[in-house]
């Protein structure tokens, strides 16, 4: 009898805790897992400082063609979120230099940031698959997720994580996606990997606890949630 009362009580308690944790704190060391985010200006410095532009052997005295200056302009415009102008400049560069895939990939990124994933996808389809860089593949996977096209997103995430196993941000997206697909064991395995490198990340632990509860593993869920309340 005691057990019969205990069980619904436990479930109720877990549910209450889950709802409570949904409302409070969004402290996480991993951020930006939902949307494609313009990385500028934080990443601008390294991306603009390409060694190719360094005055190696008289390069600095040589000509920098207009299309290259325009390409740089397009990048800077995207950093200040003038996406329409940036896209226009990118298109001019592509018109002049259609064979440089990197320009088209950057254009696709800007279109993603602008909230035009369909146009971004059109641009990416014009680029050979092997020319698409890893980060753009992740962006593409995010786009597929937003369309609930998990089948296409999964190999992009797993392919990326094979090369960058340390990227917890992408692993979290994969873990979330797997949980939505009710592939709880796989999802939990990914969460465990994240928590190994980020044991103090409360939000990830709470998400992990949710998945445990969805998988019916309530005692474990409670234990994990308690850890986040200490």
């Amino acid at each position: 009898m005691k057990l019969c009362i205990d069980k619904p009580l436990r479930i109720g308690f877990a549910a209450a805790l889950l709802i409570f944790t949904l409302i409070i704190s969004d402290v996480s060391l991993i951020n930006g897992s939902e949307n494609a985010v313009n990385p500028a200006p934080q990443k601008m410095f390294s991306s603009m400082r390409t060694k190719g532009s360094i005055p190696e052997t008289g390069n600095i005295t040589g000509e920098i063609p207009d299309w290259m200056a325009r390409w740089e302009l397009a990048k800077v415009l995207s950093y200040v979120k003038k996406y329409d102008e940036s896209v226009a400049e990118y298109r001019k560069v592509i018109q002049e230099k259609p064979a440089i895939h990197k320009v088209r990939i950057e254009l696709a990124n800007v279109l993603f940031w602008w909230g035009k994933p369909d146009e971004a996808l059109i641009e990416l389809k014009r680029v050979p698959n092997d020319a698409i860089d890893e980060k753009t593949k992740v962006l593409l996977a995010d786009f597929y997720i937003s369309q609930k096209n998990y089948k296409k997103a999964e190999p992009l995430y797993t392919g990326y994580l094979e090369k960058h196993p340390e990227d917890d941000r992408v692993r979290l997206r994969l873990a979330e996606m797997l949980s939505w697909l009710k592939r709880y064991d796989e999802s939990l395995a990914e969460y465990k990997t994240i928590l190994k490198s980020r044991p103090d990340d409360i939000q990830v632990r709470r998400k992990y606890a949710f998945v445990l509860s969805w998988a019916g593993r309530y005692p474990e869920a409670i234990k994990e949630l308690r850890k986040t309340l200490k």
Binding site: M48, P55, T57, I64, A69, L73, V80
Partner: protein, 165 residues
């Protein structure tokens, strides 16, 4: 026949000796030129660290060839020795104040060292006082971007592209 061979042998010995002696004399009396040539050789092969080892002693000699400073500066930049690069370009500008390339590179080195305002001021001064060089303006736009002054950078890029005065 034997006499002919002997004469030929002596000629060869003579020319080899002359070549050897002139090379030795060159090393003794013109060591700077030997260093310069060796430095140039490595520089052209993009072996910048090795080139530096030959160019550096030349700065102590009174070796008046601006290429030494130019190439030493580039070698320092490529190998990431920005402090040394900036002093080389400062020296070069003192010798050749009209050398725009040196000013642009110095600005670039300042930017690499995080001295964005100094770099920007230097390039603006160059653009105000000298001819409006496209390259200087592109570097100004780049350094403005690196320093986070995006709107100003956009203006400069537009000027480069002839879309703004």
């Amino acid at each position: 026949m034997e006499r002919y061979l002997m004469r030929r042998f002596f000629f060869i010995i003579f020319f080899v000796s002359v070549a050897f002696l002139t090379t030795a004399a060159y090393h003794v009396f013109k060591p700077q030129w030997v260093l310069f040539r060796k430095g140039e050789n490595h520089f052209l092969k993009k072996e910048y660290s090795k080139a530096i080892t030959y160019y550096e002693p030349l700065t102590n000699f009174d070796f008046k060839k601006p290429e030494v400073l130019r190439h030493l500066g580039i070698s320092y930049i490529v190998t990431g020795h920005y402090d040394k690069a900036s002093s080389v370009y400062e020296k070069l500008i003192k010798i050749q104040p009209e050398n725009q390339e040196a000013v642009i590179k110095l600005a670039y080195v300042y930017a690499e060292q995080g001295q964005f305002n100094t770099a920007i001021d230097l390039l603006k001064l160059l653009l105000e006082t000298g001819p409006d060089t496209r390259l200087a303006r592109i570097y100004l736009a780049r350094i403005l971007t690196w320093s986070g002054q995006f709107e100003d950078a956009i203006n400069e890029y537009r000027k480069v592209l002839g879309e703004k005065k």
